[in-house]
């Protein structure tokens, strides 16, 4: 392991009873990186962070933080990181200053170091106005800032922030992300969120987890490109709803359109989209970096067909996230998995731990069916 790897997780697994929260997670975070840890609720983000901060232990696998093993040297691990748990659980009856002092004492900062550090974190986190106030009287946004301040008080090389922006209003969020960029310059930061805009604003790299597994890990551009392919939607008139057909000759047959579109240069795949009898709608996937629109338009004109629609969808990070984690949401709602071979394989693997969920799901179905029968 090189010196620059600050967080290293190797085959981390965690099961709660029969629920598998983490399933052999592997990743590395290097010095100076700001990594967004993404995933739907219940995907295993907080579990991972709690393992890294030695709050809970993994069922299997190992993790090292700043070169220290989370099993063998929990104190050294905790010394080298600052942690902000979800919803910033602080002691409400303490004042902001008392809290920072308490955190500094537990981290054995001496009086003069505390003074310099406190001055700096108070400035960075914008706490000067509320230093003497009791935490119970602060808004959630300010509490989150205090949480961040206590995580920074000892100038740790690593910051682990669990949904640090969940309670903030849009203005506070922007401010917070600015702080993060400021303080992240010389630190390793791992932050979890389900807000993708934040990741795009502050992180260069993202790890997407779903159902306890990593489904994507890399620079944002790469993730976007990975499954964020560009697609084109073409719709050709099949029969006019009202009035005369404006095209040359007879309206085309479906197979004909498919063949012509398939021959356009740069087209990688032609997919049939569901539609009514008035149009043929196809989805085209291009090779990397090719714009199909001019050629598709020309091909349609050459044939004398009527082009109803031609547009390009660039997949956003949001689409990628949705497509990578969609199974999660369906499972949480106890719906059957969507079609598609990858999904089906996935299901087969963890049949064992799914049985309970399914049984419960079918019971729910039965109850709903019975209710519907009665009405």
């Amino acid at each position: 392991m090189s010196n620059d790897v600050m967080i290293y997780a190797n085959d981390l697994s965690k099961t709660f009873g029969s629920f598998r929260a983490l399933d052999k997670i592997n990743f590395e975070v290097k010095r100076g990186e700001i990594v967004g840890f993404l995933g739907p609720n219940g995907a295993g983000k907080s579990t991972t962070m709690r393992i890294l901060t030695c709050f809970i232990s993994p069922t299997d696998g190992s993790a090292r933080v700043n070169g220290h093993d989370v099993f063998d040297e929990p104190l050294k691990v905790r010394q080298s990181l600052g942690y902000l748990p979800q919803r910033a659980p602080l002691y409400l009856e303490m004042s902001v200053f008392e809290y920072l002092k308490f955190a500094a004492d537990l981290r054995h900062l001496d009086e003069s170091t505390f003074k310099t550090r406190a001055r700096s974190v108070v400035e960075v986190c914008g706490l000067a106005q509320v230093l003497g106030k009791e935490i119970r009287h602060l808004s959630h946004g300010y509490r989150q800032r205090v949480g961040l301040a206590q995580a920074l008080i000892h100038d740790p090389p690593i910051l682990v922030l669990d949904e640090p922006t969940s309670d903030l209003d849009p203005n506070e969020k922007t401010e917070f992300l600015d702080y993060l960029k400021q303080i992240g310059k010389e630190r390793t930061v791992m932050l979890s969120t389900h807000n993708l805009a934040e990741v795009e604003a502050s992180c260069a790299r993202a790890i997407i987890v779903s159902r306890g597994r990593i489904v994507a890990d890399g620079p944002l551009d790469e993730i976007r490109a990975k499954s964020g392919r560009v697609r084109y939607v073409v719709s050709i008139q099949e029969s006019p709803a009202t009035g005369a057909y404006r095209g040359r000759g007879a309206p085309p047959k479906k197979a004909e359109v498919e063949e012509v579109l398939g021959k356009v240069g740069g087209v990688k795949k032609v997919g049939d989209l569901p539609t009514d009898e008035r149009a043929h709608v196809f989805e085209l996937v291009s090779e990397q970096g090719v714009d199909l629109r001019p050629d598709v338009f020309q091909a349609v004109v050459d044939k004398g067909w009527v082009l109803l629609e031609l547009h390009r969808d660039a997949q956003t990070l949001e689409d990628v996230f949705r497509s990578l984690t969609i199974g999660d949401e369906r499972r949480n709602r106890r719906l059957p998995p969507l079609g598609g071979s990858a999904q089906a394989d996935d299901e087969d693997e963890d049949d064992d731990d799914d049985d309970d969920t399914r049984a419960a799901g079918s019971q729910v179905d039965a109850v709903i069916a019975a209710k519907e029968d009665r009405t």
Partner: protein, 247 residues
């Protein structure tokens, strides 16, 4: 060691920042006064004893501790932290689990000892200044306070243990109250139960263990008993805190 002190100091300050400390201190001093001076009971009313003695006070003190003071002081120590999630921030500081348990234990015990110290006002006011009701034999007073301290150490341990097993302060309060009530008052029925069972009851009863101290006798078996209960309870609390890792 330093961490234990820091955690204990924070907890103690939190107690005194909330009304709990004052309600407990004020309430129990008032109740103690009523019990000792007005209510006729087992040992007779203070005034009717006709002796320079504070035995009535030492009779009622553990009683008051069991059903009021100790449940109220220990209910928050672990349960509140678990319930509000602050435990996660505390534990992920560079502290050992044992630092947390011991820090919180000493904070709760200190709170109870503050109350014990406050009751010193009775012997002092009665027998030294401003009144001189007679020559008080200080031996039993010292042993009585020693007994109360040992009793408190064990009872706070029980409270800590139960507080660490739940996330609800109310649950912690009533579980502690019930446990201490049973452990203490089971001693009152010893004389009604014959044979081995009676011996067993008197072995575990806090009252039987404590009684000799109130009368001026320091019983080493009782000292060891109270200390063992303390250590055992703290171990259970420690394990319970540790169990979060594997749950």
């Amino acid at each position: 060691m330093q961490n234990i002190l820091i955690i204990a100091r924070r907890d103690l300050r939190a107690q005194f920042n909330s009304p709990v400390a004052y309600v407990v201190l004020g309430g129990s001093m008032l109740l103690l006064g009523v019990l000792v001076f007005w209510v006729p009971a087992i040992v007779g009313r203070y005034w009717e004893l006709d002796r320079a003695s504070v035995v009535p006070m030492f009779t009622y003190l553990p009683w008051l501790m069991s059903i009021f003071v100790i449940p109220a002081v220990t209910m928050r120590s672990m349960a509140a932290e678990k319930g509000s999630g602050t435990l996660e921030l505390l534990i992920t500081m560079p502290v050992r689990d044992s630092d947390v348990i011991l820090g919180k234990y000493f904070a709760a015990l200190a709170m109870v000892l503050v109350l014990l110290a406050a009751t010193l006002i009775y012997p002092i006011a009665m027998f030294i200044w401003p009144w001189h009701l007679g020559a008080l034999d200080w031996g039993p007073v010292v042993s009585g306070y020693l007994g109360c301290t040992l009793f408190s150490a064990a009872a706070v341990g029980i409270g800590m243990m139960l507080s660490s097993l739940t996330e609800s302060e109310v649950m912690a309060f009533f579980m502690t109250l019930a446990s201490l009530f049973v452990l203490y008052f089971v001693g009152s029925i010893v004389s009604l139960v014959p044979g081995g069972l009676g011996d067993a009851i008197s072995f575990i009863s806090f009252q039987s263990r404590y009684q000799s101290f109130a009368l001026g006798l320091i019983d080493s078996r009782a000292v060891i008993y109270f200390l063992s209960v303390t250590v055992l309870c703290l171990l259970v609390a420690f394990r319970s805190l540790e169990s979060r890792k594997w749950a």
